[in-house]
Amino acid sequence: MSVEMTTEKIDRVVVRFAGDSGDGMQLTGDRFTSISAALGNDLATFPDYPAEIRAPAGTLAGVSAFQVHISDHEISTHGDAPNVLVAMNPAGLKANIDVMEPGTMVIVNADSFEERDLTKAGYAANPLNDGSLSAFSVFEVPMTSITTEVCKEAGVKPRDAERSKNFFALGLVSWLFIRPTEPTITWIAERFGAKPQVAEANTRAFRAGYDFGETAELFHQRYEVTAAPFASGEYVNITGNTATSWGLIAASQQAGLPLFLGSYPITPASDILHELSKRKEFGVRTFQAEDEIAGVGAAIGAAFGGSLAVTTTSGPGMDLKAEAIGLAVSMELPLVIIDVQRAGPSTGLPTKVEQADLLSSLYGRHGESPVPVLAPKTPGECFAAAIEACRIALTYRTPVILLTDAYLANGTEPWLVPAVEDLPKIDIDFATEPNGTSPAGEPTFFPYLRNQETNARPWAVPGTPGLEHRLGGLEKADGRGTVSYDGENHELMTNLRAKKVAGIKSIYGDTFVDDATGDATIAVLGWGSTYGAINAGVQRIREAGRKAAQIHVESLNPLPEKLGDILRGYTTVLIPELNQGQFIKLIREKYLIDAQGLNKMKGVPFQAAEIEAFILQHLGENQ
């Protein structure tokens, strides 16, 4: 007798795939995301993986997870907690079960709950039998054994077949959420085309998972999340690191300058190096340097030669690059420094998010060393921010720090592919003629004679006859640019450098304010990747019929011109940050506003619920 199968329409769902770092969870999550994206869902993802490539198998330390939030409406976060947890082993279950709400669904690979697996995960008793999961809707599925069985028919050895079990999980979840099978089967054929046996095993495992949902009579309900209303156009699902890379290439094309990347591999920034190293047809030179200092050093050399020069890194690399960034400040050469922030100090939590490099980006160099700092708010927005960082660097002849973070870098969102003709133009005006007269009365080049509007100095590249000049870290005489030890001149130059950066006009010069009714008295101010969680938290407040505004800053230096006035319009300003309170220091210092901070340093982003609770805590009874 068959059980009647029903379909429930839901507006959103959060699915988390968790297993061992060797279980292919990132791939599984990524595939499920891609299928959902193609169906038109809005989505946000959160890959959460350990620092070790292969931590001891089966242990909590080795758990790799991928969370995806799909919806039929606009969303801004990867979701606070999963509605569905797919646990490939006891460790995957144990590492995630605590955040699950009662009544949510847990699908486990029942084959991996042997005593050995339980011990490795630190379970004294089998959670499938001891009643500890009674609050959840638990589905025990023998993923490994079915996968091995269906692969055996294809002549795949059990050990190899076992590795396809993630595709079984993908098949099952695809069935559960009524996702089509063809895109995955086509993708497997393309991806594993060179290894027909692997392709066959993965396809069989995927089909078996899908069919299991259909026939095993374990599940009685399927769920449907329909397409979200998007602006029309072509979309791709993009990570922050890819968006950053493409932004750099686009800037290079728009400026007509070759892109040079000097970089040393470091998590979570390496993917920018990987992506750019593939794009040689754009004339992109990628130089994997001997160390972080050489990475930025080579970029400075390339900048002097007239390239669009970039260096990419994460926190520890920023510390090493500090002296070279100061040199670029002194030489006033265009340079983009991308810091994909991770939790510190020192090696810290290399794969986990934190926003704690703000103050070091602003102030982490000796001497007065002003550097513009930008911070995009979503993965897709890294594209525009990278272009803007390049434009500022090139226009104002200055190093620019672009602060992304591990969450933006690896997280994804649907990104509206821009029309190339709509990309911002970047005008480059290399100096070609002498602009001064030498003491001997001959036409000569003054490398520090500034543009009256931008305060930028002229950029003359080697190969230009008559403009030979020397740059360096020693203080330069205003205008003429020769070495000067004069105190008056040093003060003048210090002020000029500060004035130049303070006067930068950027696309982030206007403050982003979302105050739906215009009369909120409480504002939540954020910067960088906390945008999504703050947005979701503020929405929850509004859904409860109360009022809160969201204000977001993407240019940390200089700060948006009217930010102070806007903030003073609110009785209460709240600043959530993934650090001990760095942005709040700036706001308090600059605007004398008694903002209140919410600080989190757990290596994971804020949840919407945390933001909501923080706002509620500060919302007066009548607001």
Partner: protein
């Protein structure tokens, strides 16, 4: 762009109006003069020439050269020059550094620039002391050196810069000294002709903090007996009457001998173009200090693919195969979907 002949220049054209601020009597003056008067003969243009330096006395060099120049940060000149030379293969890039700059704080960048074979000419002024910080021992100072920071004598075993460069897979390695302009110019000329990374150690006198450290070998009266000139195709001999020579022992080691005491045929003939670096390395270790006869000249000069050439070939190959980069195509390398 129209191709015009390289203008005829003199030393004056290559000199800036900046007052040279090394201590009077410093060996750097003679190196500066040697290079400024050599450049007009090399058939290069001032605007295509860049001097890059780090920090230290030697590193002030770019300010005195009427070319493009970068006076950067301590030890990093080879890295900065790498970015410049690989992205601008049309330029003639020189790196000027001292022994502290190149071998202490910047040792890492030096060896990597050499192994990559980036097209730069690295001139390392070796005075075996820290001058700009007023007289501490350097990584090339002799053991036991009494300095301000080592009042009881330094404990460090020194680097042999030529050995280090050969060990770092350098394709061109030479040594010269500040007392012999003709030898310097010939060495610099060959370094410049070499396509790839050229490393030249220049023995340079610091008359304030380490005066006369090389005079045992470079003073006019000592040169014949203490300097072993390396000339390609010629026997490695020295002495007032070329009475000494270098020969190889059965175990591969080199030894200075009186030519009269051995079979003359056993005296080695120098060949800097031998691919195997063993003999060049052995020559670099013939002297373990300036109290022994010391080889000068080009130790090694071999052809190896240049880094920037290879990098740029990858770019042109990609463009030939895939066509020039197109952003619209790039944006669709990820699977895309259309929303009506």
């Amino acid at each position: 762009m129209t191709v015009t002949a390289v203008p005829i220049t003199t030393r004056k054209d290559w000199s800036t109006d900046q007052e040279v601020r090394w201590c009077p009597g410093c060996g750097d003056y003679s190196i500066l003069a040697a290079l400024q008067s050599l450049l007009p003969d090399l058939g290069v243009r001032r605007e295509n020439t860049v001097f890059v330096s780090g920090i230290g006395c030697a590193s002030r060099f770019p300010y005195y050269m009427n070319t493009y120049g970068l006076h950067t940060i301590h030890g990093r000149a080879p890295a900065i020059a790498t970015g410049l030379a690989t992205s601008r293969p049309d330029l003639d890039v020189w790196v000027i550094c001292g022994d502290g700059d190149a071998l202490s704080i910047g040792g890492n960048h030096l060896i990597h620039a050499l192994r990559r074979n980036v097209n730069v000419n690295i001139l390392m002024f070796n005075n075996q002391i820290y001058g700009l910080t007023k007289g501490q021992y350097s990584p090339t100072s002799e053991p036991g050196k009494i300095t301000k920071s080592t009042p009881f004598g330094s404990l460090d075993h020194p680097f042999n810069p030529v050995s280090l460069a050969i060990g770092a897979e350098a394709s061109f390695v030479a040594r010269t000294h500040d007392m012999d302009r003709a030898h310097m110019q010939e060495t610099f000329r060959r370094a410049h002709e070499h396509h790839g990374a050229s490393f030249v150690e220049v023995y340079q006198n610091c008359n304030v903090f380490n005066d006369g450290i090389f005079s045992t070998i470079t003073a006019k009266e000592n040169r014949a007996s203490m300097l072993i000139p390396l000339t390609d195709g010629e026997q490695i001999r020295f002495g007032e009457n070329r009475e000494f020579g270098v020969t190889q022992l059965g175990d591969g080691q080199l030894k200075v001998v009186e030519v009269a005491s051995v079979d003359e045929q056993s005296i080695l003939i120098h060949d800097s173009h031998v691919d195997n670096p063993a003999l060049a390395f052995a020559l670099s270790h013939l002297a373990t200090g300036v109290t022994m006869p010391t080889p000068i000249g080009v130790f090694r000069d071999v052809v190896r693919p240049e880094y920037g050439d290879q990098m740029n070939a990858q770019l042109s190959d990609a463009q030939a195969k895939r066509g020039a980069g197109d952003l619209a195509t790039l944006f669709r390398t990820l699977p895309s979907w259309e929303i009506e």
